[in-house]
Symmetry: C2
Subunit: 262 residues, 2 copies
C-alpha cells in the first residue's frame, strides 16, 4: 500500500461526511473497503448466521455492538455519515437513498452494524499484477448481478447470491483466480468463470446494480461473490428496517489489505 | 483420506452412542473433527459473535437451528449421543460429565449447537508429512492450557485463549507452521512457538485439560489456538446452562479435511 493511503482514506471519509458522492473503487489503494448492513438488534442473529452460512458473499470483518457507529477498523469514523451513499430499507423495499443516515440511527438507536469484506480490496492486487480493471479505466461502477443461485437460508433470511463481474483477458484468468484467492476475507477466488447463463444471468449488459460492462475480444467474464448479497436478502426476506451502503459506495477503512492475506 | 474413513467415522459415532469413551485424536484419519458448544437460544448471538471476533480459537464450521441435533456434516448423526464424553455446565461450573447428553436437550429444547473446527484435523497433515504427533504415539490426550491472553469479548462472553501444544522437532517447526496454516478453518497456523511463559503458562507439565506432554531434546513446544476456548469463556462468563464435548473427545464428521484447505 502507498504510505499516504491512510491519510487518503481519512480525507475521503471526511469528504463523504461533507456530502461528496462517488463510487469508491480505487480510492485509498491498498486499504480494505467494506460493505455495510445495519439491522435492528432483534435481527442481528439472523444476519450473523446468514453470513456464517454464506462466507463467500458475506465475509464478516467486524460486528459493532448495538447502537455503536465507530468502526475499530477506522478510528474516528462514524458509520452514519462516512459512506458516500446509503440505502434505507423498509419491509424489504428501498425507501430512500441518502448521503447521511443519521436519521436511521435516531429512529432505531439499537441498530447492529456489520462490515463485510469487499472485492475492491483484491482489485488492488489485480491492478498491481497488471491485470486491467475495466470499470476503473472507464470510471464506472463495477457491474453486479443477482443470480439464480440461492444462498443457504438462516433464520428469517434467505435470498439469491449476488456477484460482481470483471472482464479478464483469457491469458490472465488464472492469475486473477490465484491473486484474489489469497484474500478469503474479501470474497476470495471467483465463484464462476465464463458462462453467465449458468448463473442465471440473461444479459451481461443489464446488471441489477452498478454500471454496464464493456467486454472486449479475448476477455472472459469472471464472477466473484459480492457483498451486495445481503441487500438481495433484504429484498427477499423483508425485515422491517435496514440500512446499507449504496452498491459500489463502500466504507473505507484504515486497515491494509495485507492483514487479510491468507 | 483413506477410502474407508467415512465408514470408520460412522462406526465410531455408533460406538460412542453405545457408551464407548476415548479421545478421538487419530480416529477416522483425514476427516474433520469438531468441538461442540450448545447454549440456550438467548445466548446464541453471544456465542456466534464471540466466534466471529475470535476466529483462530473459534472457527465455526456449522450452526444448527435451535433444538436441532443432526449435523449436516454427518448425516444420521445425533449430537446428544454421538460424542464420546460431554460436559454439562450450570452457571459456569462443571456440573456433570456424561456419555449421553439427551437429558440436557430434554431440559432445554431450544439449545443452539455450534460445531467448531479442531486441530486434530490438521494433525492428519502433520502425520502425513512425517512430523511426530507425540500424544498419539503415547496414546494420550493432547495437552491444553489456559493462557494469560484475553479473547475479544462479545456481549456477555469473555475469557482467556486456550491453546493446545505439540512438541515439534526444531527442524520441522517451519513445516508444521506451513501445513497447519493451510487449514484456517481448523485453527490454522500456530499462535505461538517456543516460550510458554510469554503465554502465561507456568508449567508445561500441568495442562488444564488433557494429559501432560513429553518433550524430548531438540523439540520446541508449539501452541495452536484451541476449540476448548469456549469452555474457558463459559467458566469466566457463567451462562446459566451449556453443553460441551469433553476436551479431546470430539464430534467426528464425514467431511474430508481437504474441504477446508485454504
Amino acid at each position: 500500500m502507498r504510505a499516504d493511503a491512510v491519510a487518503e482514506a481519512r480525507a475521503a471519509r471526511a469528504a463523504y461526511r461533507a456530502g461528496r458522492v462517488a463510487p469508491t473503487s480505487g480510492v485509498a489503494h491498498g486499504l480494505v473497503q467494506a460493505n455495510l448492513i445495519s439491522v435492528p438488534a432483534d435481527w442481528a442473529y439472523d444476519v450473523l448466521l446468514f453470513a456464517q452460512r454464506n462466507p463467500k458473499p458475506c465475509p464478516v470483518l467486524e460486528v459493532l455492538d448495538a447502537g455503536a457507529v465507530e468502526s475499530r477498523m477506522a478510528p474516528g469514523s462514524d458509520l452514519r455519515t462516512d459512506i458516500p451513499a446509503y440505502r434505507i430499507w423498509r419491509d424489504g423495499e428501498l425507501a430512500e437513498e441518502t448521503t447521511d443516515a443519521s436519521a436511521a440511527w435516531d429512529e432505531h438507536p439499537d441498530l447492529v452494524s456489520f462490515l463485510i469484506g469487499c472485492s475492491f480490496t483484491f482489485e488492488a492486487g489485480l491492478a498491481d499484477a497488471g491485470i486491467p480493471i475495466r470499470h476503473r479505466e472507464l470510471d464506472r461502477n463495477v457491474p453486479m448481478y443477482r443470480t439464480a443461485q440461492q444462498c443457504a437460508p438462516a433464520g428469517r433470511l434467505r435470498g439469491e447470491l449476488v456477484v460482481s463481474m470483471r472482464p479478464i483477458p483469457a491469458g490472465r484468468v488464472a492469475d486473477a483466480v490465484t491473486i484474489s484467492g489469497r484474500y478469503p476475507a474479501v470474497h476470495g477466488a471467483p465463484v464462476h468463470v465464463g458462462d453467465p447463463a449458468a448463473l442465471g444471468i440473461a444479459d451481461l449488459q443489464a446488471p441489477e446494480f452498478g454500471d454496464a460492462p464493456e467486454i472486449r475480444d479475448g476477455e472472459v467474464p469472471v464472477f466473484w461473490a459480492c457483498g451486495v448479497t445481503p441487500q438481495a436478502a433484504i429484498m427477499a426476506s423483508r425485515p422491517p428496517f435496514a440500512v446499507t451502503h449504496a452498491p459500489g459506495h463502500m466504507f473505507l477503512t484504515d486497515v491494509p489489505d495485507a492483514e487479510y492475506l491468507a
